[in-house]
């Protein structure tokens, strides 16, 4: 057990590309930290540097207070679970799990006992004498975890360990991983590109983009108070709606009508170099069918009317897609997010608003519907650098805040 500290860690490849840039991160003992980001953001490279499988170009990596930059993986005492599982196909499950212990030159009885224990935790006992080829995907995944936990290392590193499982099993294994980590209390660094995994698993989430850390924090904080456009768009499913907003006469002109702004935001926008064009972000759940909103709540937001495109009923609530006029918000961050989602070349005319309304809403496809949204929960971003303008002392409080 140990803490892991990354101090301005960078990775430069021989061809000149910088995969990871000045990452500062302190992972406390026993903490479960998730590195998340779109493909190519440097999360796996960061993990490999912690593992020792990649050299650190500059900066310092400390595990348990000790500088380990130049130590081989075997001397760092950390275990890793690979996306591909990487089980040794020539060995049985038992031999696979015993392998790290045998390399550590433990005596036979201790090895047998430790393997049995780990197998029991992961319910692998009946499979111990099978070869990996005769196991299902989920079983292989558990063996890979077993091989990691068996020698009680200082830390676990997991590189997208669940991404090869089918959707149902992934959800199931997610709880297994979570419970196991709590049970063992071992420092864990977990890499994923799936924001749901990041939100559900981690004590803290590190969002990376283009080799740099965007924001670090507990999942809920990232969700409620995103630092910038990228974090806002990456976290949440369905993702945040983005609209262009123009600053005119002390209000924000948007496709949803004129949005009033509070004193603090106004002061910020008064500067000479303040942007005239902004990006407005609203999460789907901050919309509501205007019919279902009581007076008290109504005052905290504003209403607009828009034609209903599609209604998806989820049972617990309804996803309603509204067509709104006006340009789609654009910025480098949003384009990158779209590219990662594979939707870069797919965009209809105008912009589409995703809203999550109560299940009681009687909304139907094709009609024009009056919809309310919460002004206290909206975010404003500067399109040039993606900064969240509504953020004050790390807190986002909508546009109205004074």
């Amino acid at each position: 057990m140990a803490d892991i500290v990354l101090d301005k860690v960078s990775k430069k490849f021989p061809d000149g590309t910088t995969a990871v840039r000045d990452v500062d991160l302190e992972i406390a003992d026993g903490e479960f930290v998730i590195l998340v980001g779109p493909s190519g953001c440097g999360k796996s490279t960061t993990l490999n540097m912690i593992a020792g499988l990649e050299d650190i170009s500059s900066g310092e990596l400390r595990i348990g207070g000790q500088r380990v930059n130049d130590k081989a993986p075997r001397d760092r005492d950390i275990a890793m679970v690979f996306q591909s599982y990487a089980l040794y196909p020539n060995m049985t499950v038992r031999e696979n799990m015993a392998f790290p212990l045998r390399l550590a030159k433990l005596d036979k009885e201790t090895i047998a006992q430790k393997v049995e224990e780990a197998a029991k935790v992961l319910e692998l006992t009946p499979l111990l004498d099978r070869k990996p080829a005769n196991l299902s995907g989920g079983q292989r995944q558990r063996v890979a975890m077993g091989r990691a936990i068996v020698r009680q290392p200082k830390a676990f590193l997991m590189d997208e360990p669940l991404s090869n499982l089918d959707a149902k099993l992934r959800v199931q294994m997610r709880t297994v991983v979570s419970r196991l980590q709590k049970q063992l209390g071992t420092t864990t660094v977990y890499v994923t590109h799936d924001q749901t995994e990041a939100m559900t698993l981690g004590d803290r989430v590190v969002i990376m983009r283009g080799g740099a850390v965007q924001q670090v924090g507990p999942p809920q904080e990232l969700y409620d108070h995103p630092n910038n456009l990228f974090v806002a768009g990456f976290i949440g499913s369905p993702s945040m709606n983005f609209l262009t907003a123009t600053v005119e006469e002390g209000t924000l002109r948007t496709a949803l009508g004129d949005v009033p702004i509070g004193d603090r935001i106004r002061r910020e926008l008064e500067g000479a170099d303040a942007p005239r064009e902004l990006i407005l972000g609203i999460r789907p759940e901050h919309f509501e069918d205007a019919e279902l909103v009581d007076e008290e709540t109504r005052r905290r937001g504003m209403e607009f009317t828009a034609p209903v495109d599609i209604v998806e009923s989820m049972g617990s609530d309804k996803y309603v897609y509204l067509s709104v006029e006006g340009e789609r918000a654009t910025s480098a961050e949003l384009e990158e997010l779209a590219a990662d989602a594979g939707a870069a070349d797919f965009s209809g005319a105008g912009s589409n608003l995703v809203t999550r309304l109560s299940a009681e809403s009687t909304v139907t496809e094709g009609e024009d519907r009056r919809v309310w949204f919460n002004l206290e929960k909206i975010h404003l971003f500067d399109p040039s650098d993606g900064r969240n303008l509504t953020l004050h002392e790390g807190r986002a409080a909508g546009t109205l805040a004074d």
Binding site: L53, F82, P100, L103
Partner: protein, 277 residues
């Protein structure tokens, strides 16, 4: 559907039989000759009228053949072992590492494989005479390794490339040194490749005639293919055909044994289950 598959099977079966007959007829003919008596040798019958083991007795009676057999086995085994070990290390480096001069190394080894061996015989002869290697075991082992290495590197690097790299990373994370990762994880998985390469290299060394006849002069290091060419009858008028045939049959036996022994270890799909493919 079933009809076409049966017909296809028959067609392929006939084709297979044709190939096997074509390839095996000379071998069977030699076997038949080796059991014939000198008088019936040229009667043109496939099945000998009179069976005899005289030819076999003759070749084992002469010290010449037994000695050559020992030379052949020894030289081929040593050359194979060294070539496979060196080849494995080189192939591993080529398939796993990016080092300066990698392309050059591959290019040069390809060049060696393509170089006409006969053009090297005279220089080798001179070099070996100067170095005192002429007519010794190392005198043959060294050129065999030289020419077997490109072959070994090529086949082995193909096998190494199939092994998922994650396995090696996993081994390192589990606490293995580079050497341990290679010996305990990579090499067992590359075993089919190692055995395939060993068979190919062994056959190459075993069958070589060119180097063996040029770089040897006495029984000290003469290998079987060369010894065969020096066979003479009891008198100069006697035809040693029977004895040569018997010897030819005898020298194919080790190679068949070698292949059969290693073939059992060539299990395909050894890496299945390692990673989700």
């Amino acid at each position: 559907m079933a009809d076409t598959t049966t017909r296809a099977k028959v067609r392929w079966g006939l084709l297979d039989v044709a190939v096997v007959v074509f390839a095996l007829t000379p071998v069977l003919w030699i076997m038949s000759l080796s059991f014939k008596t000198p008088a019936t040798l040229t009667d043109g019958k496939f099945i000998p009228r009179e069976w005899t083991l005289e030819n076999y007795r003759t070749i084992f009676a002469t010290d010449q053949f037994v000695r050559a057999l020992v030379n052949s086995i020894g030289i081929a085994l040593i050359a194979t072992t060294i070539a496979v070990v060196l080849g494995a290390m080189a192939a591993y480096a080529i398939s796993r590492l990016d080092f300066p001069g990698k392309r050059l190394l591959i290019g040069v080894s390809l060049l060696i494989a393509m170089f006409p061996q006969v053009s090297l015989v005279s220089p080798l002869f001179e070099i070996e005479r100067q170095l005192g290697l002429f007519d010794t075991w190392p005198g043959l082992i060294l050129p065999y390794i030289t020419f077997a290495l490109p072959l070994a590197i090529y086949t082995l690097s193909a096998f190494f490339k199939q092994i998922p790299w994650d396995l090696e990373k996993a081994a390192k994370m589990d606490g293995a040194t580079q050497g341990q990762a290679f010996r305990r994880v990579i090499a067992p998985l590359a075993a089919p490749g190692l055995f395939t390469t060993a068979i190919l290299v062994f056959i190459f060394c075993w069958n070589d005639f060119l180097f063996a006849i040029s770089l040897t002069s006495t029984e000290r290091s003469r290998t079987v293919p060369v010894a065969l060419s020096f066979f003479t009858g009891a008198s100069q008028f006697e035809d040693p055909t029977g004895a040569i045939c018997a010897a030819a049959v005898v020298i194919t036996v080790p190679i068949i044994l070698f292949v059969l022994f290693f073939q059992r270890r060539i299990v395909s799909g050894l890496t299945s289950g390692a990673v989700k493919g």
